[in-house]
C-alpha cells in the first residue's frame, strides 16, 4: 500500500497497553503510515504540541488523561479540533456512547479488535480527507 501513497499521513497511536500500542503501530507502519506513539492522554497532548498528526487512534481507558479527556482537549484548540479520532474500547457496547457523541470521534472499535479493521477505518478516513483537501 505504501507504494501507492504520494503523501504519508501521520498517525498518533495512544494506548497504555504496550502490546496493543506496538501491534497497531506495526500494522500502520507496514501500510506506509508515519506512526508516533503515546502511553496516555497527557503524553499524547505533548506529542501533538510538537506535531499535529493527521489522525489519532486512542484507547478509551488510560491513566492520567483518558480517551474522552484527550478528545475534549483536542476540541478545545482550533489547531486540533478537526483532527479525526478513532477510539478503541474494551468497555463493550454501553460505555462507548459518550465518545460517539464527540464531534471529532470518527469511529469507535471494540476490543478485541482486528488490526485489519483498524487499517481499513484509518485508510477510509485518510482517503476522505485527501479528497476533501
Amino acid at each position: 500500500m505504501s507504494t501507492h501513497m504520494t503523501y504519508q499521513p501521520s498517525i498518533l497511536v495512544v494506548d497504555d497497553e504496550s502490546h496493543i500500542q506496538h501491534v497497531v503501530s506495526l500494522k500502520l507502519r507496514n501500510a506506509g503510515y508515519l506512526v508516533e506513539t503515546a502511553a496516555d492522554g497527557e503524553e499524547a497532548l505533548h506529542a501533538i504540541a510538537a506535531r499535529i498528526p493527521d489522525l489519532i487512534v486512542t484507547d478509551l481507558q488510560m491513566p492520567y488523561l483518558d480517551g474522552i479527556g484527550l478528545c475534549r482537549a483536542l476540541l478545545d484548540s482550533p489547531d486540533t479540533n478537526e483532527v479525526p479520532v478513532i477510539v478503541l474500547t474494551a468497555r463493550g457496547y454501553a460505555l462507548g456512547e459518550e465518545a460517539v457523541e464527540l464531534p471529532n470521534v470518527s469511529a469507535v472499535l471494540s476490543k478485541p479488535f482486528s488490526p485489519r479493521a483498524i487499517l481499513d477505518v484509518v485508510s477510509d478516513i485518510c482517503q476522505i480527507r485527501e479528497k476533501a483537501a
Binding site: A90, K111, S114, P115
Partner: protein
C-alpha cells in the same frame, strides 16, 4: 335453674288453692242475706278450713312431686304427683324438658362461640406475628378506605406508626396516589384478580425514595362483595443494588478479559497476515500471546475462586498449617522475579510456633500474591521483607510483607482490596488482574476468619499484613 323455678311455681299454685278456698268462703259471706249470719259464719269457717286443707294437700303433693322431680326421672315424678295434678305436671315437665334442651343448646352454642373466639384470636395473633416478622410491608384496608391492619414494615416503608393507625383513613397515611388508587379500585371491585405494579415511593424525613413492587388482592364476603383489600409491598432497593453490583462486576470483568484478548487476537492476526516479517518481531508476538494467555488464565482462576468463596461453595482443605513453611515456599517461588529486578528478599520469622488451622494452598496464594505485588511495585534494587510472629493475646499468627516500593496514594488505600480496583497511575508499572488483593482478602477474612490490611507511605513503601487465628495445640501436634 328451671327446677328452682318449678318449686316456686308449685308453691304459688298451692298458695293459690288456699286463697281460692278462702275467697269462696268470703264471697259466700258478703253475698248472703242478713238473716242467716250464724250459718254464714259457720259456712265461711268451713270454706276457709276447706281452702286451707286443699292448700295443704296441694302443698304436700307438689312438695312430694318436686322432691321426686329433683331426685328421679321426670316420668316417675309425674307418676308420683296426685292424679288431679298430673296433666299440669306433665305439661310442666314437657316445658321443663324443652327448656332444658334449649339451655343445653345455648350452653353448647356458648362453648362453641368461646372456642371459635379463641381460635380466631389465636389465628389473628399468629397472623400478626407472621406479618410482624415479614420484610414485606402489608396493609389491610376496609371498603371505607380505612386501615384495618398494617405491620411494622409497612409503617417503616410508608412513614407512619403501624401500632397506632387502625381505623385511620388511607388518604392521611399513604402519600403515594398510585398505591391509594390501586387499593380503591380493588375495593370498588374494579379488578377481579390480584394487581401488581411497581411504585417509586417519595423520599420521607426518615428514608430516601424507595422503588417497590406492590401486589393488591381483594378479600370478598359471602356474597362476593369486596370486604377488604390486602396490599403487599416489596422493597426493591436491595435487589436493585445487587443488580447494579452484578452489572458493574460484569462490565469490569469483561473489560479485564477483553484487554489480554485484544493483544492475543491482534498478535495472531499479524502473524497470520505475515506482517511480523522478522524473527525478532515474531518471537515478540509469540511471547505476548504466551504472557497474555497466562494473564487471562489467572484472571479467570481468580474470578472463579472469588465467586466460589462468595457463594460458600469452595472446598477448603483445613489442616494444621505451618506459616513458616508457607513463607519459605512462597519466597522460593518469587525469588527468580526478585533476582531479575535486583531486589533482596528477607524473612524475619520469630522463633515461635506459627501454626494455624487453615488451607495450605490458599494461604500460600495469599503470601505469593502479596510478595508478587511487592516485587512488581518496588523499583529495581529494592528490599522486600516478610515478617512473621504470633500474638498470644489475640490468639493469632501475624504475617507482614514490607517493601521499599512506590507506596499507595492515601485515597486508594481504602479501595485497594475491591474487585478490579487498581491504582490508575500504576497500571503502566505492572500488569495485573485487579483481583489479586480481593482474593487475598476473601481467603484471609472469609475462609480463615482473619484480618487483612495495609499501611503505606507514598514513595516510601507499603506494608501489607494479615492475621490468621492460631491452630489448636492438638492440630499442631498432629501436624508435627
Amino acid at each position: 335453674m328451671f327446677k328452682t323455678l318449678t318449686r316456686s311455681m308449685l308453691t304459688a299454685m298451692a298458695c293459690g288453692g288456699a286463697v281460692a278456698g278462702g275467697a269462696i268462703g268470703l264471697s259466700l259471706v258478703f253475698g248472703a242475706p242478713s238473716g242467716i249470719w250464724p250459718a254464714i259464719a259457720g259456712g265461711t269457717l268451713a270454706a276457709a278450713l276447706l281452702g286451707g286443707l286443699a292448700a295443704t294437700i296441694i302443698m304436700r303433693s307438689t312438695a312430694a312431686f318436686h322432691t321426686r322431680l329433683e331426685s328421679t326421672h321426670t316420668a316417675e315424678a309425674v307418676a308420683a304427683a296426685p292424679r288431679w295434678l298430673r296433666p299440669t305436671a306433665r305439661t310442666l315437665v314437657g316445658c321443663l324438658d324443652r327448656l332444658g334442651a334449649r339451655e343445653e343448646a345455648w350452653r353448647t352454642r356458648e362453648r362453641d362461640l368461646e372456642i371459635r373466639t379463641r381460635v380466631a384470636e389465636a389465628g389473628r395473633e399468629q397472623a400478626e406475628a407472621v406479618l410482624a416478622v415479614m420484610n414485606e410491608a402489608v396493609l389491610v384496608v376496609n371498603p371505607f378506605n380505612e386501615l384495618v391492619m398494617a405491620n411494622d414494615a409497612a409503617g417503616t416503608l410508608l412513614g407512619f406508626d403501624a401500632s397506632n393507625t387502625q381505623g385511620q383513613s388511607l388518604a392521611t397515611l399513604v402519600n403515594d396516589s398510585t398505591l391509594r388508587r390501586i387499593i380503591s379500585e380493588t375495593l370498588e371491585g374494579a379488578c377481579t384478580s390480584t394487581r401488581q405494579a411497581e411504585l417509586m415511593l417519595d423520599a420521607t424525613e426518615h428514608s430516601d425514595a424507595v422503588a417497590c413492587e406492590v401486589m393488591v388482592g381483594c378479600i370478598r364476603d359471602g356474597k362476593g362483595r369486596p370486604s377488604a383489600a390486602v396490599a403487599v409491598l416489596h422493597d426493591l432497593t436491595r435487589e436493585r443494588e445487587i443488580a447494579q453490583m452484578k452489572s458493574e462486576f460484569v462490565s469490569k470483568a469483561s473489560h479485564e478479559l477483553r484487554t489480554p484478548l485484544s493483544s492475543m487476537r491482534a498478535c495472531v492476526e499479524m502473524l497470520v497476515d505475515g506482517e511480523a516479517d522478522d524473527t525478532a518481531t515474531r518471537e515478540e508476538f509469540y511471547s505476548i500471546i504466551q504472557s497474555e494467555t497466562e494473564r487471562l488464565s489467572r484472571l479467570v482462576d481468580n474470578m472463579l475462586n472469588i465467586s466460589r468463596i462468595e457463594a460458600g461453595i469452595i472446598e477448603i482443605d483445613r489442616a494444621a498449617v505451618d506459616l513458616r513453611t508457607i513463607i519459605e515456599q512462597a519466597m522460593r517461588a518469587i525469588e527468580p522475579q526478585a533476582r531479575e529486578r535486583g531486589q533482596t528478599l528477607h524473612v524475619e520469622a520469630a522463633p515461635v510456633d506459627l501454626h494455624v488451622n487453615g488451607d495450605h494452598d490458599m494461604l500460600q496464594q495469599v503470601v505469593v500474591n502479596l510478595l508478587s505485588n511487592a516485587v512488581k511495585y518496588t523499583p529495581e534494587g529494592g528490599r522486600i521483607s516478610v515478617i512473621a510472629d504470633s500474638d498470644n493475646l489475640a490468639r493469632c499468627v501475624h504475617v507482614a510483607v514490607q517493601d521499599t516500593g512506590l507506596g499507595i496514594p492515601p485515597d486508594d488505600v481504602e479501595r485497594i482490596f475491591e474487585k478490579f480496583y487498581r491504582v490508575e497511575n500504576y497500571k503502566r508499572v505492572a500488569k495485573g488482574t485487579g483481583l489479586g488483593l480481593n482474593l487475598c482478602r476473601h481467603i484471609v477474612e472469609t475462609v480463615h476468619g482473619g484480618q487483612i490490611g495495609l499501611e503505606s507511605t507514598l514513595g516510601m513503601g507499603s506494608r501489607f499484613w494479615f492475621t490468621v487465628p492460631m491452630g489448636t495445640v492438638e492440630a499442631a501436634k498432629a501436624a508435627a
